[in-house]
Structure formats: structure tokens, C-alpha cells
């Protein structure tokens, strides 16, 4: 639960709106309960003494309830939208600042998407959990004071029932959810893996006639998940039923007290019915809170992970030279994993075009990560000019490096916005020049909306080769003198790959190029080729 409190604290900036939403919803709740109680009292008093709650009061309460309910909807939604936005922006900043680069480098899109789902799980926190909870907190003293003034013993009984159904049982429901959460998360992950395996391995599945087995495996994982969910659902249903039972007990107390003091009973009956109805949804909110709390803990874990590469306390100025050198660099991702590099030496003089080859798993992408200061070497140095990268801030270093890989993302935005990411101040001429060099200008020119064409999710509107050329145009637009190309052609077919590499030969005329690949196609123009082997770079015949 402490994770939820920390999420709520992130909303400090929106405190005014959140408070206003709470206040209006409490007023609206009060009007609703007053309306119901006054209706009952009107009839009761008519029977007793004829001293009427004036019908005008009732009408006012009715109108007030409608107006307040409308205001409540507006205020709470405004507050919710603000809170949602601030949480997302906060998470994005944290992800970008902290482990960000590394996360984007190593984690797959699916993992990131799951994190996003955790952020989404906080969407109901204000409207569906905090607002009703605040209502229950305010209602409790109202109930006990109003009824207690006439019949303290009745008030105590009703208060106990209210605490049970409004606080204790929802609390238990949320605890059960947190406790079951681990099991459900594991089962859900197992099912996801089985599904992903079956679909990624469709070729294997077909070749080994394993369709039935693959389906059965997912179904078995699903059965585990459903079993875990069913246990939780059953318990939540019990909590809900008990909450209902305790509200029934409260009404029963009122009815039992009726013969002794009918006036109080009439008032209390309508008050209790309305008050318990207002908190009837809380056990479900408790379950929701349990889910949100578990998700919040995961978000905070990622957002508050320490920086993979600490920034220098006294940053040094960028050197004039853009020679890139690796000196006796050793690196491993995790202490228990084998070393990726051991004493790696590599020299990229300004303007040089080199290729680094190696099979998958030989640490090719790690090379890019080291050069971009996404990770720091365990020992040895990476130098730009004569300055150790450790002495440069990541931001200043990255003005010298431009990166293109198979995971370079095309955003669901216009072509223009995608290009401007590399150089926000670029003018129209510069954009077209970059597109021309990447040999995609003709395609863009032929589009009715030109630069303002929407590229679709991950560049879905374009073919694989065209998407990669758009990404290349963005890379070339950046004024950075060093290009790091990490398997830029992975996933392209052979013909497209060759055409793309040929474009690259002419495109990066005066920049240093580090091409990282598992093999060469023969069309690359290179000064030198290295092969990664056992953590070293070995010069190979060009």
C-alpha cells in the first residue's frame, strides 16, 4: 500500500483539482443522502405530528443533488485526466533519465508495454478508490453523530456495521489481492510465454506437427491462471457478500429499535439505506486497490532504479577531435554472466569507415551501448579524442554520436516530427536533403501530405525498407560526426539490404561510421573490418 501512497504523492501538482473533485463529490454524496433521508422523514413526521419537512426543502435537495452530481462528474474527471497525465510524464522522465537508455537497449517492446499496463492500472486510483473511500470516511462520523444524538446504542451498532462493510472488508479484499497477485502474475506470465512460444515457433510447430501440443500447453497454463483467479474471485465474492450482510444487519438494528422510538427509526432507516448504498462498491474497490498497489510497486522499482552510468560530478568539455577509441575494455552485463569483452581494443579515426562483425551473442550491441555511454566498462576506457567518456555528460556525448539500429523506433507521428527528433531546428531544406540522401525523398514527395504524412504505428504505413530509410534520414539529419549502425538491415530481405547498404556508402561521406553486423554482403565500402571473438576485436582482411 505504501507504493500507492507514493503514487498519490506524485500528484502534488494537481492537488487543487483533486481536492476540488473530492469536495464536490462529498457535497453531492451529502445531497443524495439528505434527499433520501428527508423523503423518509417527510412521511414519518406527517404520521407523527404533521410537522413537515417543507416540500420546498425536498425540491431544493433534489435539484441540488442533480447539479452537484453533474459538477462532481466534471471535477473528478478533470482531476483524473490531470493526474493520469502527470503520472505518465513523470514515469517517462524517470525511465528516460534513470535506467532509460539501458532499458530501451535491453528490454523488449513487450516488457515495456507491460510496464505501461502497470501505469494504466493506476487510472482508477483516484476516481474508483480514493473518492469512494473519502465518502466512507466522512459518512462514518455523520452516521454516528446524527443517530447517536437520539440513540447512542443504536449508533454504536450501526457504526460497527459500517466500519465492517466500508473499511474492514475492503481492506481484507485488497490484502487478499496483493497476496494472490504474485501467483496470478506468475501464471499470467507463464501463459504469455507459452502463447509467444507457440506463435514465434509456428514453423517448428508445423514442422513437428505439434499444433495440438502447442494449443494444449497454452490451455494448461490458462487453466492454472484461471484457477488462481478463481480463488481470488471467490474470496472477493465472500468479502462482498459479508459487506452486504453487515449492511442488512444495520438496517435490522434500526427496525428492531423501531417500536421503542419510531421517529428515530424512520430517520435512521432511510439514512442507513442511503449511506450503505454509497459504500456498497468499496469491497470491489479494495480488489482494485490491491491490483493497483502491486502495479505501483513495479513502476516504482523501474522508475527509481539507480543510474546505470553515473554522470560525472565535474563534466569536461567535449574534445575537438572525434576519434573514438576502446582501450582494454572489459565488460559484463551481470556479475554472474560471462564477460562480453575482455581487454577489447578498437580504434576509429575521424572519418574512418569500419565494420565490426561477430555472431549473435558476441557482444556486438554491447559495443554500441559502450560507445553511447548507455553502460560503462568494468575496466579500461572508451575515449572520444583524448577524453574518457566517463568525464563527459551523456547528453553532450550524444551530440557527437548518431545511432541507427533495427530497434530504432519510428514514432506514430508525422514524417516531419520523426525527422525533427534528430535536429529540432532543422528547416525544410535540411529535411528534404536528408530524405534525398537516404533515397526516400521521391516516395515522400509522391505522398499527398508529403512531410506531414502520418507514419503509423512503428512505421506501419511504409514497407520495411522504406521505414529503415526514413530512420536513416533522421540519423543523417543529426549533425553528429560519428554514426553507429547496429545491424541496420536486420529483418530486411537480401535485395533491400544491399540497396540500403549502397545508399549508406554515399550517404555518410565525411563522417566516421561504425557498422555492426553478423556478416557483410559485399557492397559495403569499408576502410577496415574487425571480427569479435572471445571478447577481443581481431582485424580481418577488408
Amino acid at each position: 500500500m505504501s507504493a500507492l501512497v507514493r503514487i498519490v504523492r506524485l500528484w502534488r501538482g494537481q492537488a487543487a483539482w483533486l481536492a476540488l473533485g473530492l469536495l464536490v463529490s462529498l457535497l453531492s454524496l451529502a445531497a443524495g443522502i439528505a434527499l433520501m433521508t428527508a423523503s423518509g422523514a417527510l412521511v414519518g413526521e406527517a404520521l407523527l405530528a404533521g410537522a413537515l419537512v417543507a416540500p420546498i426543502v425536498l425540491r431544493l435537495l433534489g435539484v441540488g443533488r442533480i447539479v452537484l452530481r453533474y459538477a462532481e462528474r466534471l471535477a473528478t474527471h478533470e482531476a483524473t485526466f490531470r493526474a493520469l497525465a502527470s503520472l505518465r510524464v513523470w514515469f517517462f522522465r524517470k525511465l528516460a533519465a534513470g535506467s532509460a537508455g539501458g532499458t530501451g537497449f535491453r528490454r523488449t517492446g513487450e516488457v515495456l508495454a507491460r510496464l505501461v499496463a502497470d501505469v494504466e492500472a493506476q487510472d482508477g486510483l483516484y476516481l474508483r478508490i480514493l473518492v469512494p473511500l473519502a465518502g466512507a470516511i466522512v459518512l462514518l462520523p455523520v452516521l454516528t453523530v446524527v443517530i447517536g444524538a437520539r440513540d447512542p446504542r443504536l449508533a454504536a451498532g450501526i457504526g460497527a456495521c459500517f466500519v465492517l462493510s466500508g473499511f474492514v472488508l475492503p481492506g481484507i479484499a485488497s490484502r487478499l489481492t496483493v497476496a494472490a497477485g504474485g501467483r496470478i502474475t506468475d501464471a499470467a506470465a507463464a501463459m504469455r510465454v507459452a502463447g509467444l512460444d507457440a506463435l514465434t515457433g509456428l514453423r517448428e510447430v508445423r514442422a513437428f506437427a505439434a499444433e495440438g501440443r502447442a494449443l494444449a500447453s497454452v490451455q494448461a497454463r490458462e487453466a492454472d491462471l484461471l484457477h488462481a483467479q478463481r480463488t481470488l474471485a471467490d474470496r472477493a465474492a465472500v468479502a462482498g457478500a459479508l459487506a452486504l450482510l453487515s449492511s442488512q444487519a444495520a438496517v435490522l438494528l434500526v427496525l428492531a429499535a423501531a417500536p421503542a422510538d419510531p421517529a428515530t427509526a424512520v430517520l435512521a432507516a432511510f439514512l442507513v439505506v442511503a449511506a450503505f448504498e454509497a459504500v456498497a462498491g468499496l469491497p470491489r474497490a479494495g480488489v482494485l486497490a490491491g491490483h493497483a498497489a502491486a502495479a505501483a510497486a513495479r513502476i516504482l522499482d523501474v522508475a527509481e532504479a539507480p543510474l546505470a552510468v553515473p554522470e560525472p560530478l565535474a563534466p569536461r568539455a567535449l574534445p575537438a577531435s572525434h576519434r573514438l577509441r576502446f582501450e582494454k575494455v572489459s565488460f559484463r552485463w551481470l556479475p554472474e554472466r560471462p564477460a562480453v569483452f575482455e581487454g577489447l581494443n578498437l580504434d576509429v579515426p575521424p572519418g574512418a569507415r569500419i565494420a565490426v562483425l561477430g555472431p549473435s551473442g558476441s557482444g556486438k550491441s554491447t559495443l554500441a551501448a559502450l560507445a553511447l555511454k548507455v553502460v560503462a566498462p568494468d575496466s579500461g576506457r572508451v575515449l572520444l579524442g583524448d577524453t574518457d567518456l566517463a568525464g563527459l555528460t551523456a547528453a553532450s556525448l550524444r551530440t557527437r554520436m548518431s545511432w541507427l539500429s533495427q530497434t530504432t523506433h519510428l514514432f506514430d507521428d508525422t514524417i516531419r516530427a520523426n525527422l525533427l527528433l534528430a535536429r529540432p531546428d532543422a528547416d525544410e531544406t535540411a529535411l528534404w536533403a536528408a530524405l534525398d540522401t537516404a533515397r526516400i525523398a521521391d516516395v515522400v514527395r509522391a505522398l499527398p501530405d508529403g512531410l506531414d504524412t502520418w507514419v503509423g504505428e512503428s512505421g506501419a504505413r511504409f514497407s520495411g525498407g522504406q521505414g529503415r530509410r526514413l530512420a536513416l534520414a533522421r540519423t543523417l539529419l543529426s549533425p553528429a560526426p560519428i554514426l553507429i549502425l547496429d545491424e541496420p538491415c536486420a529483418g530486411l530481405d537480401a535485395e533491400t539490404e544491399r540497396a540500403f547498404l549502397q545508399t549508406l556508402n554515399d550517404a555518410a561521406a565525411d563522417r566516421s561510421v561504425v557498422l555492426i553486423a553478423h556478416r557483410l554482403t559485399g557492397v559495403e565500402r569499408l576502410d577496415r573490418t574487425y571480427r569479435l571473438s572471445a571478447g577481443h576485436a581481431v582485424a580481418a582482411a577488408a
Partner: protein, 569 residues
């Protein structure tokens, strides 16, 4: 967010059909909901009479029933309601679970049946999200929305019937108020449903942008644009909020129709009874109390329905891609048998085979013919894109040729059932997929009924044991998602072990060494050479080392045609 109307229509149709299929599981929810409303109505009757009787001594009317009976009645109905609420929640969960299970199996079954060709159009991650997340998003439709939709009509009707006995005029007032709710929503122009939809769309859009930026976070950070992008995210969210709130200000007016109906009915009836009793024009205090207590019960099902509308929207979002999955075949194809399948091996022949993936890019195979006698090895050589993989995919049954005939021992493979074809062939591709599980599980995948001994023999023959013995748990080391990461060469050796274990007479190798360094390549080729003994082998490759593999039969392909043949191909 442009959507084509046709896809929307298909999604709607599909949803309606799914709701029909799920009906069987929904009636317990509806039935217990109705019973619960009845019990609540009974309680209102008891409570109304009890309160009226308590007031009676002062008003002079005689008590109707003994208080103890009424209290007992109220209490037992209360217990019944609690039990019904438990039962109804469980039933609702079961309805959602049953629907998820049914739809998931159906969707995955369709994808598995359609086979590897679906991977040409979509990434496996997207397909997995479809089968896992999108199906989960349908849960609320079946567990909440569908029953709530029925109860929103029947529930108020039941309450109105009970009220009819106490005060026909009150029943009429409630009926009018109840009918006013949907009309009021429509009159305000957009409806509570629409308010819900706007809000949902706004959130979905914000979420889509957020997911997109988080997925590309490395690109943003490395471009030095993190701060600027965070600002843009905030601006976009603010703008979206302002626009959405403008719409919601109007849309919520229509949501107010429910509040208006409830408040109006309550005020109207309270004044009717209050003044009526005071002036003596209304004589039944019990009926008055009962009706007033029933007013919230009357509107409760309508409120639940409005709340469940979110679930319907979630489902509509997920339905589109699920509605357009490839269909399952009506019936399995005609069974066929191959004349010989054992010891002597199989002979393969392509006769004038043509296949086009994409008309814009020309044919992948263009009248290809060749013949491989039983027990021989054929190298398919040629540059990438020449059609080597396509030829192998046809033999695996992943695709069917557009023209020509492919035969195995003289039988057309178009007439073979997929299982029979799979029995005959073992396949090793460029990058084998390792499933989450132990290395042993992954080898056994080739033949689930194999004994431990056979699995170990296969692992030895493929030299898996050489590296597995160096791992913490040997063959029991977990690999795949979340497991130990094997290198490309190690993964390929596991694939070779699968082929050893399967022991099929026809071995299809599609660039098995394309992603390996020269040293690993020669090791894997050595294993493959042992595997090839006594089998018919077709090896597609453009690696020089791999081309030295076979016994001299070689076919050079270019643009889907054979350009030169060595050996009697």
C-alpha cells in the same frame, strides 16, 4: 485512428455472435440478479410495514403483522441476498472465464492451423498480444455488460410490479421515470454511453501515444530529446484533456438524466405521501414507506448498466482483430498415404512448380523442376531471394504452390494430410526457436514419446552434451524466455538434436549456418553430415562451406528458376 467501416461492422457482428455463444453462462448471473432484486423488494415491504406499525400506536391504526415475524422475514431475505450476491459474483466470473477460454482456444487454434504463413503479415509479438491481452480485454463484456444489459430491463420491471401492488400511481411514476432515462440520454444528444465512449477514446489515445514513446525511449534518449519529448507528452495530454472535457461538459448533461429521474421520482412520491398522510387523503403509511424504499432499488440496475458500459467499449476495441482471424477449415482434407516411407527413404520431385508471394515483386518460384532420389543429398544454391527457402517451405507444407506439382515418392503433397507430411520430414531453419523449458524438453519437442535414453543419444550425436555439460544443470538447464541464453551455434545444435531424435527420412535444411561464425559453422556441418547418413537431404544455402557438404548434386537457382545443375538433379 481512421477505421474502415467494414472492419467495424465485422467486429460488431462478431461481438454479437460471441454474446450469443456466451449466453448459456450468463443466465445464472441474470437469474440471481433478478432473485436478489425480488428479495430486496420483499425487504422493502417488510421494512415499510414495520416502520408504519411502529408509528401506528401514535396514529391510532392497528398493527398489521407481529413485529417479530416481519423482522425474521427481513433478516432471512437479507441472508438470501448476501448468498445471492456471492453466487452472482461467482457466476459472473465463470461467465467471463468461460468466454475467455473459448475465444482464446478458438483464436489460437485458427492461428496454429493457418501456420507459418501468418508470420508474413504480422509480428509474433502482436499475435501473442491478440491471443493473450485482447482476449482478456473481453472479460468484462461477458461477466458484467451482457448480464447488466438484461437486468437493466428486467430489474426495474420487477420492482415496478411490486410497487404496483402498493400504489399503482407510484408504479406509473416510476415507469415514466424509467422510460425517461434512455430518452433523456438520447435527447441530450450524445448519451451517457457516448460520454463514456469519449472518455474511453481520449484515454486510449493518450495511452497509445505513451506506449509509442516508451517503446521508442532508447531512440529518444540517444537523440538527446528526452526532456523535450516529456514536454510534448505533457502538452499533448493537456490538449487532449481540454478537448475531451469540452465534449464531456455536454455529454454529462445526458448522464444527469438518470439523476434527474431518480430525484424527481423520489421528491414527487415523498410529497405525495407526506402531504397525503398529513391531510388524510392517503391512508397506508406502510405502502408509502415501502414505495420510498423501493425507489433506489428501481434505479440500481440502470446505474450498474451505465457503469458496465466501459466493459463494452474495451471489448469493442479488442474485437476487431479477433473477428478477422483466418477461418478453421470446414473439414480435414482427404486422407492420403505415401507408398513407402521407411528404410529405403523417400524420393522428392518438383515438377514445373510456380509460386508468387507478392505480385508486385514477381514470382518466387517460376517453373522449377528437379528430382532427388531416395537417400541422396541435393544442394540448393543461389543468392538470397532466389527461391531456395520457398522451395523448402513448400516441402514443409507451409505454403502451397500456385502451379505445378511436388511429389514425395510419387504422391502429390497437396493430397497429404499435414500430420503425414510432418512425420516424413525433419527441418532445421536459420534461427531455431527454443521454447521456454529445459534443453531436454526442447529436444524432446521433436518426438514427445521418446525415452530419456533416446533424447540423450540425440543430444550426444548433435554435440549438445558438449556444451550442456558445462552448464549449471546440464540438459536440465532452462532455456528460452527467462532462461539461460544459448548462443546461435548452441541453439542450432539443439535443432540438430531434434532432427536426430525425430529420425525422419527426409531432411530439409534451410540456411542452417547462415548466422554462425566459420568455426561454429564447420562444427554444425559435421553434425549434419552424420545426421544425413541414410536420408534424403535438401540443403538450401549460399555459404561456400555448406556447399561442400553433399555428394555432388547441386542446383543453382536464380529468380525462382534453375540456372545450372550438377549431378543428376
Amino acid at each position: 485512428m481512421a477505421r474502415d467501416g467494414q472492419g467495424d461492422k465485422a467486429a460488431k457482428l462478431w461481438l454479437r455472435q460471441q454474446i450469443r455463444l456466451g449466453r448459456r453462462h450468463q443466465w445464472p448471473v441474470v437469474a440471481s440478479g433478478l432473485l436478489s432484486i425480488l428479495a430486496a423488494s420483499g425487504q422493502a415491504v417488510c421494512a415499510g410495514r414495520l416502520l408504519a406499525d411502529a408509528l401506528a400506536p401514535r396514529t391510532g391504526a392497528p398493527p398489521g403483522y407481529p413485529a417479530a415475524t416481519l423482522i425474521l422475514c427481513f433478516a432471512s431475505l437479507g441472508v438470501a441476498r448476501a448468498a445471492l450476491s456471492f453466487f452472482s459474483e461467482r457466476a459472473a466470473w465463470s461467465a467471463g472465464a468461460a468466454a475467455r477460454r473459448r475465444i482464446r482456444s478458438d483464436a489460437l487454434g485458427r492461428l496454429l492451423h493457418a501456420g507459418p504463413s501468418v508470420l508474413r503479415g504480422a509480428h509474433s509479438g502482436e499475435l501473442a498480444a491478440l491471443v493473450i491481452d485482447q482476449v482478456d480485454a473481453l472479460d468484462g463484456l461477458f461477466s458484467r455488460w451482457a448480464p447488466a444489459a438484461v437486468l437493466a430491463v428486467l430489474g426495474p420491471a420487477v420492482v415496478a410490479c411490486v410497487v404496483l401492488f402498493a400504489d399503482p400511481l407510484a408504479a406509473f411514476v416510476l415507469a415514466v421515470a424509467g422510460v425517461f432515462v434512455p430518452f433523456g440520454m438520447a435527447f441530450a444528444g450524445i448519451g451517457a454511453a457516448s460520454a463514456s465512449r469519449r472518455q474511453f477514446v481520449a484515454l486510449a489515445r493518450l495511452q497509445a501515444r505513451f506506449v509509442d514513446r516508451v517503446r521508442g525511449i532508447a531512440t529518444i534518449v540517444l537523440a538527446g530529446q528526452a526532456t523535450a519529448e516529456a514536454g510534448r507528452l505533457q502538452t499533448a495530454a493537456d490538449e487532449l484533456r481540454r478537448r475531451t472535457m469540452r465534449v464531456l461538459r455536454v455529454a454529462f448533461l445526458s448522464s444527469a438524466s438518470l439523476d434527474l429521474a431518480l430525484a424527481a421520482a423520489l421528491v414527487l412520491l415523498a410529497i405525495r405521501y407526506g402531504t397525503g398522510l398529513a391531510r388524510g387523503t392517503w391512508s397506508s403509511p406502510a405502502a408509502a414507506m415501502t414505495v420510498l424504499l423501493l425507489v433506489p432499488e428501481f434505479f440500481a440496475p440502470l446505474r450498474s448498466f451505465a457503469a458496465a458500459y466501459q466493459d463494452r467499449l474495451h471489448a469493442a476495441g479488442a474485437a476487431g482483430p479477433l473477428a478477422t482471424l483466418p477461418p478453421l477449415p470446414a473439414e480435414p482434407g482427404p486422407p492420403a498415404r505415401v507408398r513407402t516411407v521407411t528404410a529405403s527413404g523417400v524420393a522428392v520431385a518438383f515438377e514445373n512448380v510456380g509460386l508468387t508471394w507478392d505480385p508486385a515483386r514477381g514470382p518466387a518460384l517460376d517453373g522449377l523442376s528437379f528430382r532427388v532420389p531416395a537417400g541422396e543429398t541435393l544442394i540448393l544454391a543461389g543468392p538470397s531471394g532466389a527461391g531456395k527457402s520457398t522451395a523448402i517451405e513448400i516441402l514443409l507444407g507451409f505454403v502451397r504452390p500456385d502451379s505445378g506439382r511436388v511429389t514425395i515418392n510419387g504422391a502429390d503433397i497437396a493430397e497429404l494430410v499435414p500430420q503425414a507430411l510432418a512425420r516424413l520430414t525433419a527441418w532445421i531453419g536459420q534461427r531455431p526457436v527454443l521454447f521456454a523449458g529445459t534443453i531436454r524438453d526442447n529436444i524432446r519437442f521433436a518426438r514427445p514419446e521418446a525415452s530419456d535414453r533416446e533424447v540423450e543419444d540425440a543430444a550426444r550425436s548433435a554435440r549438445v552434451l558438449e556444451f550442456a555439460n558445462g552448464l549449471p544443470d546440464g540438459l536440465e538447464t532452462r532455456v528460452g524466455e527467462g532462461g539461460y541464453g544459448l548462443s546461435g551455434g548452441q541453439a542450432q545444435r539443439v535443432a540438430v538434436a531434434r532432427a536426430f531424435l525425430k529420425n525422419a527420412p527426409l531432411l530439409l535444411l534451410d540456411e542452417p549456418t547462415a548466422h554462425l561464425d566459420p568455426a561454429t559453422e564447420s562444427e554444425v556441418l559435421a553434425s549434419l553430415r552424420r545426421l544425413a547418413i541414410g536420408r534424403t537431404v535438401i540443403l538450401a544455402t549460399h555459404s561456400a562451406a555448406a556447399q561442400a557438404f553433399g555428394g555432388g548434386r547441386r542446383l543453382d537457382l536464380r529468380a525462382g528458376q534453375a540456372v545450372s545443375a550438377r549431378g543428376a538433379a
